[in-house]
Symmetry: C2
Subunit: 225 residues, 2 copies
Amino acid sequence: MRDALVAAAFQLFLERGYEQTTIDDIVALAGVGRRSFFRYFPSKEDVVFPDHERCLADMTAFLASGGDEHEPVQRVCDAARLVLRMYNENPTFSVQRYRLTKKVPGLRAYELSVVWRYERALADYLRGRFAGRPDGTLQADVIAAAVVAAHNNALRSWLRSDGQRDAATEVDHALGYVQSAFGNPPAPAAVQVQQQPEDVVVVVSRRDAPLWRVVQEIESALGRD
Amino acid sequence: MRDALVAAAFQLFLERGYEQTTIDDIVALAGVGRRSFFRYFPSKEDVVFPDHERCLADMTAFLASGGDEHEPVQRVCDAARLVLRMYNENPTFSVQRYRLTKKVPGLRAYELSVVWRYERALADYLRGRFAGRPDGTLQADVIAAAVVAAHNNALRSWLRSDGQRDAATEVDHALGYVQSAFGNPPAPAAVQVQQQPEDVVVVVSRRDAPLWRVVQEIESALGRD
C-alpha cells in the first residue's frame, strides 16, 4: 500500500504539479483512505522522499557497527554510498523527483533538512572517532560537510544526465577527492608511509627530507629491500 | 523603525516564546502598523535574521570585487569572515537568537536555507575561479561546504560561550584547517605528486608501480635530477 501511495502521488505530481495535488487526490487514486496515507507519511512532503528515513537508519546502523579497524574518513565515504545506492535502486523515480524538487521551493527546503540530518549522522560518527584529537569536533564537522558536498555534486551530475552516466563511478571519483584532502592528514613525522586500499602506496614526506631516506621508506613499504 | 521592530519582536520572543508571538503583537509594541512590518520583513521568520540579506549582498559584492591576484581558498575564507563580523557586531543579540533558534524547529529550517545561500555564493565564486580545472565544480562545492562547516563550528562554539571567547580567533583557527587541507588541490594522475602547504611532498603510487618510476616522480617533485 505504501508503494501504491507513492506511485499515485508521483503520477499526480507529474500530471498536475505538486502544489495542485492534495492528499485527498492521492488517496482517491490509490484507492485507500486518508488515515492509511498518514500511517505511512506525516505530510505531503514525506511522500516525495519515501526512503530517506530508512536510509538514515541504515546509515546510522552501518556507522555504529564499525570498529576501530575502519579508517574514519573511508568509513563515512562508505556510509555516504548508501544514499547513492538508494537513489540508484530506482533511477527513473530519482530523476523524476529531482526535476520536481528543483521546481518546488518547499521541497527544496525539505531536502535541505534531510541533507542536514545525513551530515549530522556522519559528523557525530567522526566526532566519536576523533574524540581524542584537539580539533576533533572541527575536523569531524568539516569532513562530514565535505563528504556530503562531494556525494551531492556527483549525485546531481548523475541526475542531470537522466541517470545515463554511471552513478557509482561518479560518486567514487568525487569521494576520492575528499579522501585525498582528508584521508591522510600531514603528520609531523619526518617521513611517513601508509598503505591505502586498492593497492596504493602513499608517501608523505617533508620537502627537505633527503632523497635516500624517502626511497628507503618506499622500499620498506613495498616490501622490497 | 526597522530596528524598533526587531527590538520589539525579540522582547516578545523572549518573554512569551516565538510561536506565541504574532505579528500584531510586534507592531503593537513597536507602535507601528502591520504594513510597516511587511515593508521590512516578508515574514515573522525574517525578523529573527534581520541582517542576512545585507550580509549575503556584502559577501557577493566582496567576491565579485576580487581579481586573479587573490588565492581562491583564501578569498572564500575571507568572505566567510564577513558573516562572523555581522554576528560579532552585536554579541548579545546573536547569543539570544542562537538560543531561540535552537528551540524553534521552523527557525532551524529557515537558518538551513540561509546557510545554503551562503554556501552557494562561495561555491559559485569558486566555480568561476576553477573554471579551467577538470574537477572544478566538484572542488568548488566541496571547498565551499568545508568553509561553511568550519565557520559554523567556530561560530557555534563562540555562541555557546555566550560570546565570551574571541570570535575572530576561533574562526581563524577553524578556517586555517580548511586552508591546510585545500590550499593546493590534487591532480588525477596514475603516479601523482603534489606539493602541500608546510613544505610536504605527497606521492600517491600504485603499489605495483616499478620503484624507479616512483623515485623518478619524487625527484621531479623535489626539483632534483
